[in-house]
Amino acid sequence: MKKNLFLVTLITMLVLIIPVSAFAVTLNVLDSWEPEFRKHYETWVDQFEADHPDINVDNSYVSWGQYLEKLKTLTAAKRMPDIIYLHYSWAQNFIAKDQLTNLQPYIERDPDWNLEDFFDVALDGYKGPNGDLYVIPYDAGPLVLFYNMDMFEEAGVAPPPHEMENADSWTLEAFLDVAKKFTKDVNGDGRLDQWGVDPSAVLEESRLVWNLKTFGADLLNDDETKLMLDEPAAKEAITWFKELITKYHVAPTPANASNLDDPFVFGKVGMAIGGSWMLKQWTTLGQFDSDIAHVPHKAGRDPVYIVAGSGYAIPASSENKDAAWAYLKDLLSEKGMTYVWGKSGRGSPARESAWPTFLNAWTNKNADVFPDALKYGEYVEPLSPFAPELTDILNRLREELLLEDITVDQFVERAENQFQDLIEKQ
């Protein structure tokens, strides 16, 4: 009797004394946020931990440039964290190699989580071959037009439209006319030192996809096995945008733009095409007023908005999938996305419900262009594992094209040949 009483007392004391956190799960999260944003982000993490005393969140941060290398090294070492950040261009590679957890069953288990609140286009690029989601996006950034308001005022030109209903007249021809007005020799030394358009708008990476789709062309076919640059519409698009530099000189050549890391921030160009992730850099760093507008469109065609973003995933090797899902469910919920990305204005949220808060963070800019654009957005390409190498091939050919070392036909032919070599290596 005494022995039983002793055991019961001991067990009761242990239960009362040992804190719940001693049995807590520790989630390792690998992310890439800059220090400034981390403070805001971690207030959400702290709240999550307070609401879930059985889960500790251990955040690690790696700079964006080194992130993929670090992540792949951890994968090879079989030391993946429980939650990882993934850029759109990396996602399909990880999905194809079965490195990510299928999140669809988790999402379907929690219908209140409201997947319908996400922009449809934001989810493209994160699905597996079976159509299930493997990555949940936190942002979806359409490519829009950023412009230097001071240059427009000085030239006496009306600013480009930020409302969809007024965008009809904002054609490529109108865009070129405005660009010509801004292009000049400011200091009188006989050389151009101010241009209408940022050179990145001309055939560079995701902007190349925008250039092509504006003319009704594509970079790749649907399953990304064939390059589509030899179509007439593609060649027309490449020629038109190339001539911004080589014929009309309204954008700086690669040589003139060198050493100017960001010609738009330096006030050297009047307009630039960029995603919502450029919002802070292009509207606050320059010594001029700037704003956002719709991209120009080809006359007779609708405007095209290319969308890209990033998200979070749970590696297949995680031993804490349920806890990881609890964290993601919270972080990427309507409330979580509204607070973390909407309120801070850090990224254009992938959820429609978070947008009013995001727009409140940017009341002095025409940020309403973004949600309008998202409704008509198409996801960027390529998404296949060979994306970084194809980008390198196209960037090199772009350089040669803009230096007029090769013609458009040669650009297309060499791109096709090198793409074939690339496919054979896969």
Partner: protein, 291 residues
């Protein structure tokens, strides 16, 4: 004695073991691993897959591979000639007793202290088509400068010329060798009517020929490993004009995660450099004079 010998042997192994451990872990082990890797396909996301010699065959049929080989050889030959000749000329000047020679020595040697990255950033500005000092100086002489790093013909020579920056250490090596030449030989030659040119051709160069070989070998190894300048300044462009071997290897390994392909590239490079070193030594029998 036997006990002492055993003890000495014991201490030998104790003291050498850290080096052996380091050698095995950080050199021999990874070397063996890359040999195996060169016969595999590995992207870090899935286990390595044995593919036999297909990486090597792919390389031999890879047009970009041959472009990088050609560019690297061009860069190396240009660098070897330029650096060897320039550092020798600088050493010959320093081997005189004129006023200001020590100042000249400092100006020639000091730039080599700067890191490659700092030098690359500096030369990005020197070569800038609009704001660069090179085109400004050319303009003073009525010449039109080029967009050096954006010109397919001039980009690689522009990177070669940058190597003038690091002639300092080689100059010091040559200077030490020049100072070993007995003055009596030069005086005898002068008495026989030799000019300064005859002195250099018939006395100086033959006597320092082993050092010339050494400098050429060191310079060629450094030149074949060129990476920082093309990566930071041109990214191998414009097009593939400055796309060198190490940059292509780096991109395959760390940007595109084609580890097996990159390992095969590394081993082919080792073989190329080994063969070149053997050829250099063989050719040196005709012009290097020992003793």
């Amino acid at each position: 004695m036997a006990t002492m010998e055993k003890q000495e042997r014991k201490y030998f192994w104790i003291f050498i073991s850290p080096w052996i451990l380091g050698f095995v872990l950080f050199l021999a082990g990874p070397l063996i691993a890359t040999v195996v890797l060169s016969f595999s396909e590995w992207d870090l996301l899935s286990p390595p897959k044995w593919v036999g010699i297909s990486n090597y065959i792919s390389l031999l049929t890879d047009d970009i591979f041959w472009i990088t080989v050609k560019n690297t050889i061009f860069f190396a030959v240009g660098t070897i000639v330029l650096v060897t000749v320039a550092s020798l000329i600088a050493a010959l000047i320093l081997n005189t007793r004129y006023r200001g020679v020590s100042l000249f020595r400092m100006f020639v040697f000091l730039p080599s202290v700067a890191t490659g990255v700092a030098v690359a950033v500096l030369f990005l500005w020197i070569y800038h088509p609009q704001f660069g000092i090179l085109n400004y100086i050319l303009g003073l002489f009525g010449l039109t400068g080029k967009a050096w790093l954006f010109n397919k013909t001039w980009a690689l020579p522009a990177l070669i010329v940058m190597r003038f920056w690091v002639i300092g250490p080689n100059m010091i090596i040559f200077l030490a060798a020049l100072q070993e030449i007995p003055e009596s030989l030069k005086e005898s030659a002068k008495l026989d009517g030799a000019t300064w040119w005859h002195e250099i051709i018939y006395i100086v160069l033959p006597l320092i020929s082993p050092i010339i070989l050494l400098v050429m070998l060191i310079t060629s190894i450094q030149a074949f490993q060129v990476f920082i300048e093309p990566q930071l300044m041109t990214n191998g462009g414009p097009g593939h004009a400055t796309y060198v071997y190490m940059l292509y290897l780096y991109q395959n390994a760390f940007e595109w995660q084609r580890m097996g392909y990159a390992a095969a590239m590394a081993w082919i490079y080792f073989i190329i450099l080994f063969v070149l070193a053997v050829l250099q030594f063989r050719a040196s029998r005709k012009w290097v004079h020992y003793g």
